[in-house]
Amino acid sequence: MTTLAALADMDRLTGGEVLVAQNVAFAVMAITMVVAALRVVTTRNVVHAALYLVVVLAGVAGIFLLLGAEFVGVTQVMVYIGAIVVLFLFGIMLTKGSFGDDDGVSGEKRLMAGLVGLLVFGVMTAALVESFADAEVARSAPSTTAELADSIFSAYIVPFEAVSVLLLAALIGAIVVARQD
């Protein structure tokens, strides 16, 4: 009897510890991501902006893992950090020398952009706090990749095919646009 009670007690205790660990991990990643995102949009060096973007994308992958979406997290690392950032670096190298730094944006333009950003954030925050005041994300088992694959190839087969056609079109379009002749 006492052992059962002790076990239940321990379970509650470790559950609380896991929750604390999750919240600490979230706080660390969130602060890192926000700082890195601010650097992406403010740094003068274009290559540094791409490298700060890597930090933000890795943080997003971490958030996905925290939410139990392991396949999406791994895909995020492979597609974003592995492919898209490399594409960005190629783009920077191929257009380098023309416009390395991003000076010369007038203070007025920055101010207006900052105001618009703050306004968007304010409206969204008000709406979110109003709508989901204390909704909790349920602590459930992470979704398995098999579950995800079943869902893609049954319920979501039409959008999946549409995305594959879109990728093909974008591939051909990019080649046609960038071809040199």
């Binding site: 992406v40 949009v41 999406v72 257009t95 954030f121 969204m124």
Partner: protein, 99 residues
Amino acid sequence: MLLNQFLLLSAVLFSIGVYGVLARRNGVLVLMSIELILNAVNINLVAFGAFRATVGGEVFALFVIAVAAAEVGVGLAMVLLLYRNRRSIDLTAIDQLRG
């Protein structure tokens, strides 16, 4: 974990991305800001998927990742074309269609 902590993080990233799109002049940097916005959307999708305990959010996050890859491919091809024609990727200099 609260649902709102994910949604608010995503709102912050989205707003920073909007600021970047509006304030930057370099075409490549504008595309990077668009990536920030798309990532904010992905966090929202996965968070709502976890909240409702359905796999649909993750599926659509995967679709958004695929669309983002296509967008970056075409976008960078356009920036490259711009550079080849004008030797500059300053987006404020492209104002020939101004009324």
